[in-house]
Assembly symmetry: C2
Homo-oligomer: 220 residues x 2
């Protein structure tokens, strides 16, 4: 986000515009420098506001980072309804890849896994985001079962985990080139394709069935 061009004298002021600029600058600083080197001064400078403007609303860099991340996840991945389980899973996988390969998405993911993830508020935010994404698999599975595409006892959480895990693994852990940006669009396509193929094969074979209540308690 850039400075508000409509207000050239006092760049962004103290109101909502300034807050948006500070949040955007926080994400940009996370992307460029990482959490360890992020400072309130650097964020203020990037946002074009005075340091005291930042401190008026956020008490330290931790609260700044938590707030910027929470705001980012307010807009999330939609629940697809393409008419087939394969189409729905592909849409979910592609949305996940897209969200994780965009510059802001990468900054946010990296920050959540970085030392910032040690903050209880960030760990909590991460759990919230994932729980929300897991829930998005529920209607997809329910419709697939109705259409007779998947076994009735398919566990939506296990299916979403199977779908999402390789995306996270390839983009964050093994850091395939797909993470490098748009010039690798066909690789992003490949990541989504493989994970859809695997998740579907596993679900159809009954490998993603709900845990039976025979054992002591439920599996998460």
């Amino acid at each position: 986000m850039e400075l508000a061009s409509s207000d050239p004298v006092r760049p962004v002021g103290r109101g909502r515009k300034a807050q948006a600029a500070v949040r955007a600058a926080t994400l940009a600083e996370l992307l460029d420098r990482g959490y360890a080197d992020l400072t309130v001064e650097g964020v203020a400078q990037r946002a074009g506001v005075h340091k005291t403007t930042v401190y008026r609303r956020w008490k330290n860099r931790e609260s700044l980072v938590v707030d910027a991340l929470a705001e980012h996840f307010a807009t999330d991945i939609p629940i697809p309804d393409t008419g087939s389980v394969e189409g729905d899973l592909r849409a979910l996988a592609q949305a996940l890849v897209q969200s994780m390969t965009s510059p802001v998405g990468r900054a946010v993911q990296t920050a959540m896994l970085s030392d910032a993830g040690r903050l209880p508020e960030i760990a909590e935010a991460r759990r919230g985001v994932l729980a929300d994404r897991f829930r998005r698999a529920e209607p997809v599975v329910a419709r697939a079962v109705e259409r007779g595409e998947l076994p009735a006892d398919t566990d939506p959480a296990a299916l979403f985990r199977t779908l999402a895990a390789p995306v996270y693994f390839r983009l964050l852990i093994s850091a395939d080139q797909v993470a490098e940006g748009a010039e690798n669009a066909e690789d992003a396509e490949g990541v989504a394709d493989e994970t859809v193929r695997v998740a579907l094969a596993a679900a159809r074979a009954g490998a993603l069935a709900r845990a039976r209540p025979v054992t002591d308690g439920e599996q998460a």
Copy 2:
């Protein structure tokens, strides 16, 4: 690692013992504080050596962290040969879970994903570790194909990725309780079980076949 009790006057000295103590202290500091708050002073104090002893061998905290991580991965996961593909995959998955849930393993993984992962040497070390682990799947797949347990065109890299991704996802990203330690041993078992089931079903269904050379070039 503790101070060498055999040398109570000058705790660990300047030699190999001191170096081992410094590396162990680096991993311990990574575990307790994370990379952002790790200092050469803190490591020296924990190792029971003088700061100058550390600086004699390592020029800064970055080289210290890179060296401690590289040393840790010298001992790695063995290649199983249990007589069945299911047994081999279970052994691989269990070794991975074990390595990632041990305190040192968690410190190392967390460090690699933290801001320390921005260092080119650490990114390189991470790629090396993963490449090595991917190679461990090759003999497992070759034997399974020979025994007629898996399709001949099964891609060992895709199989290992399918096996490892949920382990990384559950232990690092969604941070299931299994990461909290030994009291959750049955959950660790559950993580390994699910990923073996999924990987086997996908491989048997042909969802992990090598990319055919019809398209432009090979998939990684």
